[in-house]
C-alpha cells in the first residue's frame, strides 16, 4: 500500500504496540495531539494513556525515565519533539543508556528507541533544523538509524523496537509527507544493512535520510549527461555497513558522501577514512563530501544555500571526475 513516511512510522508503531504489551510511547504532545508532526496520531486513543504518555516538558526526564522503564522490562519509544531539543537529554543518552550494557558486564540491556524528527528544509526557526547524528554515532553503545522512505519507516521502527540496544531513530522531517510503497507482509533488509537504491558504474553517492532523494535526483540528472551514478542509502550510521560501502566503491572507483550535517567531524569524515583504508587501490579520486557548512544552521532564508542540493552533488561529481 502507499502511504507517507509519517503514516508509515505511525503504522509501524501501531503494529509494535499491538505485538508487545511492553512497548510504551512517551513524549511531549504525542498523545492527544498526536505529536507536532502527527506521527503518533490516534495511538493514545486506541492504546490508552498508560501506553502512549504525554510527558512533562523535560527531555532529560523523558529519556532518563525511559531508561528506568527499560530496566524493568519495558520497551519504551520516546519522541524528542525537534532535533535541537535532544541536548537536554545528552547526558542520559551518551553517558547513561549507551553504556548500560557495558557497565553491567553485559548483564543489562537497554531496549530504548529515541525518535527524533531531524534535519532542515522546512523554513523553521533556530533549533528546529539540526542534524545531530554524529554526536550519537560517535558514542559507543548507541545504534543510529535514519530512514529515507515509508517502507523503511514502517519496518525500521519495528526493527528498532525489537533491538536490545538503544537506538537513535532519525526521521527526516522534510520527507515526512513524501509517499511511497509499504509492503506490510514482507520485511526488507535487516536494520543495519545499507541498500543500493540506484545502480551505477561511474561513482558512488553515499547518502542517508533526507539526502537520499537529493542523490537520486542528481543521479537522474547525471544519467542524461552519460554518467551512471550509484546511490547507496546507508540507513544505519552506527554501525556502518562497511561491506556494502566497500563493494560499491570498488565497483565505481569514486565516492561522494552527502549529508546535511556540518562537515567537520561528521559522518562523511568517518566514511572517507574507512573507504580510504579499505579501497585505496580502487579509488580514482579522493573521497569527497557534500555537506552543510561548519556554521550553526543558518536563518531559514539562507537554508537553500546551506543544504546539499542536486547542483552541489553534481559539482562534486565533476570534481571527482577531474582527478
Amino acid at each position: 500500500m502507499t502511504m507517507t513516511l509519517a503514516k508509515a512510522i505511525n503504522a509501524g508503531l501501531r503494529r509494535a504496540l499491538e505485538a508487545d504489551p511492553k512497548v510504551v510511547l512517551m513524549g511531549e504532545d504525542i498523545g492527544r495531539l498526536g505529536g507536532v508532526f502527527r506521527v503518533t496520531e490516534g495511538l493514545q486513543a486506541d492504546f490508552g494513556e498508560s501506553r502512549v504518555m504525554d510527558s512533562p516538558l523535560a527531555e532529560s526526564g523523558i529519556v532518563g525515565t525511559a531508561v528506568g522503564l527499560a530496566l524493568r522490562g519495558y520497551r519504551p519509544v520516546v519522541e524528542i519533539q525537534f532535533d535541537g531539543f535532544v541536548f537536554p537529554a545528552f547526558d542520559q543518552i551518551t553517558s547513561q543508556v549507551s553504556r548500560l550494557h557495558f557497565r553491567s558486564h553485559g548483564r543489562l540491556t537497554a531496549p530504548l528507541v529515541i525518535r527524533i524528527p531531524y534535519g532542515g528544509g522546512i523554513g523553521a526557526i533556530e533549533h528546529h533544523s539540526e542534524s545531530p547524528e554524529a554526536y550519537f554515532a560517535h558514542t559507543p553503545g548507541l545504534k543510529v538509524i535514519t530512514v529515507s522512505n515509508p517502507s523503511d519507516g514502517y519496518w525500521g521502527i519495528q526493527q528498532a523496537i525489537a533491538s536490545d540496544d538503544p537506538v537513535i531513530f532519525l526521521e527526516p522531517k522534510r520527507r515526512y509527507y513524501v509517499r511511497g510503497e509499504v509492503d506490510p507482509d514482507v520485511s526488507p533488509e535487516p536494520l543495519h544493512a545499507a541498500r543500493v537504491v540506484r545502480s551505477g558504474t561511474d561513482a558512488t553517492l553515499l547518502a542517508y535520510g533526507p539526502t537520499v532523494q537529493t542523490c537520486l535526483d542528481a543521479a537522474e540528472a547525471a544519467a542524461s549527461e552519460g554518467r551512471q551514478l550509484e546511490v547507496v542509502d546507508l540507513r544505519s550510521l552506527a554501525p556502518l555497513d562497511d561491506d556494502a560501502i566497500v563493494a560499491s566503491v570498488e565497483r565505481t572507483g569514486r565516492c561522494i558522501v552527502v549529508h546535511e550535517a556540518s562537515r567537520s567531524g561528521g559522518l562523511g569524515a568517518e566514511i572517507a577514512a574507512r573507504v580510504t583504508e579499505s579501497c585505496f587501490y580502487s579509488l580514482d579520486a579522493p573521497v569527497l563530501r557534500v555537506t552543510g557548512y561548519d556554521i550553526p544552521y543558518p536563518p531559514a532564508k539562507t537554508e537553500h544555500a546551506y543544504l546539499p542540493d542536486v547542483d552541489r552533488v553534481l559539482d562534486a561529481v565533476d570534481r571527482a571526475f577531474a582527478y
Binding site: G61, A124, I125, H127, R263, Y293, D294, P298, D315
Partner: protein, 366 residues
Amino acid sequence: MDLDHDPGFVQLLTPDGRRVSHPDFGYAGDDSSIAAHLRAMVLARRLDAEATALQRKGELGLWPPMLGQEAAQVGSVAAVGSRDEVIPSYREHAVALGMGVTPLEILKTFRGTHMVDWDSRALRFHLYSFVIGTQALHATGIAMALQLDGRVGPDDATNAAAMVYFGDGATSQGDVSEAFVFAASYNAPLVLFCQNNQWAISVPIERQTKIPLYQRARGFGIPSVRVDGNDVLAVQAVTSWALDRARRGEGPTFIEAFTYRMGAHTTSDDPTKYRGRDEEASWRAKDPIARVRAYLRSTGAIDDLWEGHLTNESDALAEQLRDDVVSLPDPALADWFTRVYAKTPSGLIRQRDAHEAYEASFEETA
C-alpha cells in the same frame, strides 16, 4: 511582608473593570499611567495580530502569538528600571516592545532573515531563547554578575536586578529547577517571572505540576507570589516589589502570573485538537485589555477621541510593519561564516570563499 502565609491571588482590577484592594500590594500610578498601559497592550496585540496574519500569507515562517498575555508582559516590563536586565523566552513580544525593541526587529527572526537582530546589550533585553528553560540559568548568572559588580544594595540610584521570563512548561525542565537552586543559594538579585498560560502546546498545567507553581518555588527557599496575570495593575505592583527586593539585596522572587494563551502555541499549532471552546470563552471573559478599557471609560480618563487616536496609531503600526517586513532583503549565506567565532579561523574563511566561488559560477554561466 510575611510570606510564610499564603498571600493568595493578587488582583487589583477585576475582569469587569473595578479597582479592588489587596492587603500587601497596591498600584501606585494614576489613570494616565493606566492609559499608557492600555496603549501598550493595544499596540502589542496589534503587532501580534499582524504577525499572525503575515505568517498566514507566507511572509513569516512561524509566529508564536502572545494573545491574552498582554497584561502579564506590559505590567511586568513597566516595573523594569533603567539598569535592570531582562532575559526573555520567545513569546515576550510586548516585553520586547517595552524594552525598546522595534516591531520589525522582533519579526526578523520569524521571517528567517536574521537570527536575533536587536542590540541586546544596549537595550538590556537579551536574545530570545528557543530551547525551553535554558535562559533561566543565564539570567541567574547575569544576576550573580550584578551582585559581583556591587550593583546590589540600598542605593536606588545605582542598584540593579535581572528578570527572566519563562512559561509553565519550562518549570519541568531541569535547567529551571537548577536556576531556583542557584538563585536561592547565592541570594541572586533575580525575579523569576513565570507566565503560567495553562498550556505547553497541548499539555495542560496539571501534567507539569501537582501544586500551584508558586508553591513549588517556595520549596527552593524563594519567596513567591501568584498574581492575576491578566491584571496589568497587579502585575506591575507585584513585579515592582520583587525587583525592589532584588536590587536591595533581599534575593530572588518567583512570580507566577496566572494567565492564558488565547491563541495557538505557534502558527503551526491547532488548539482545537486538545482544548475546548468553553475554556477559551471563560478566559476571553477575563481579557486583560477589556477590563482596563472598562475601568478607564468608567472614570472618564479615556473617550472616543482617545480611542480613535489609538486605533489610528495601531493601524499605522500594522501598515508600517507589513511594508517593512516584506521589504527585508534576503541575506546571503556567505555573511554567516564570520559570525561563528570571535576571530574566524582560516579554514572557515576558505570554506566561505569556496562557497562564494561556487555560487558565482552559476552567475557566469547564466
